[in-house]
Symmetry: C2
Subunit: 184 residues, 2 copies
């Protein structure tokens, strides 16, 4: 579960709002047995103390079979159920935000201007304990029927992954080069 959570960047957080289900996408990160994300400042969306289901799904490959309905995908997914809460303590909030930087840009946190107290106060961070969890993994290739194996159709796996492109510096940026971002 930790390995899958640590390989993902985006999650969907399902919550119930006005008796209807809502899935909100956001960046998340793990620190120990907690998952953090930026919550809406006012405690709206899934940010308040509320039942949520946080789902991470990583697409790893396309599985091509010889018959139409045996096509599939390779994936890893995790669903974490629990009660999300807003992080109120400034120290926990600061530590959580540093965790996001370490997740995405190891070593960058000490280089950027740290948050001011007012910036920190205006930033909502929500947390969810990793307690009730379900994980699914599919890593195998195509499983065709015996009678289909001889069909003249390409079968196999096309790997899929999130990759980074060439960094685009902003005009006037320091020339020390872009950091390496860890996206998987």
């Amino acid at each position: 579960v930790h390995a899958i959570l640590d390989a993902g960047l985006m999650c969907c957080i399902a919550a119930i709002r006005d008796a209807r289900p809502v899935a909100t996408p956001t960046i998340y990160w793990r620190k120990g047995e907690k998952i953090y994300w930026h919550g809406a400042a006012g405690g709206a969306s899934a940010g308040g103390a509320a039942d949520v289901c946080l789902t991470v799904a990583l697409l790893d490959g396309l599985v091509l079979a010889r018959s139409a309905l045996r096509h599939s995908v390779q994936y890893r997914s995790v669903m974490v159920f629990g009660r999300a809460r807003q992080v109120m303590d400034d120290q926990e909030k600061l530590g959580a935000l540093e965790g996001l930087f370490e997740r995405l840009y190891p070593g960058r946190w000490p280089k950027v201007r740290p948050p001011s107290l007012s910036e920190l106060a205006a930033t909502a961070v929500a947390a969810l304990d990793i307690e009730e969890v379900s994980a699914k993994v599919r890593g195998e290739g195509p499983v065709d029927l015996e009678q289909d194996l001889g069909l003249p159709v390409w079968a196999g796996v096309i790997p899929v992954a999130l990759t980074t492109g060439a960094p685009v510096p902003q005009d006037g940026t320091a020339a020390d080069g872009a950091p390496v971002a860890r996206v998987t």
Copy 2:
């Protein structure tokens, strides 16, 4: 909204089950003003006639600023709200599945063994009308405070995209080469 939906592969479908929110990840595709996905055969999960929120989120880039809390991401996201239904008509189901193939592997549908009637009956497909929709896009680079612009910190955008790797043919597959998969 169509353009964002057509660029995504995976969605999360939020539904309410036993009074709790659940976000289920799945492959989806669009055909006209409908979104389709494989539902659980028994009408479990989000597959039955039920209120759902189908969310697609595409991560396009990491936005690196000079101060910690101005870091952000570039993304496109769509939330579709409505009532999901199971597709019961065999012709609509077959057309929907062909739509998935055209989405992922243009031209491949006529080459694979088509579904038998029993395979089709055992395959659940769910549909959602694109009516109540919300879309969000963030495409800009870092927006630093004036006073931070001179800091010696790299700022800019690191593009992120889903990409395909080298196809891995299954032992004994036809040697006609892998099809091109469209993943964005």
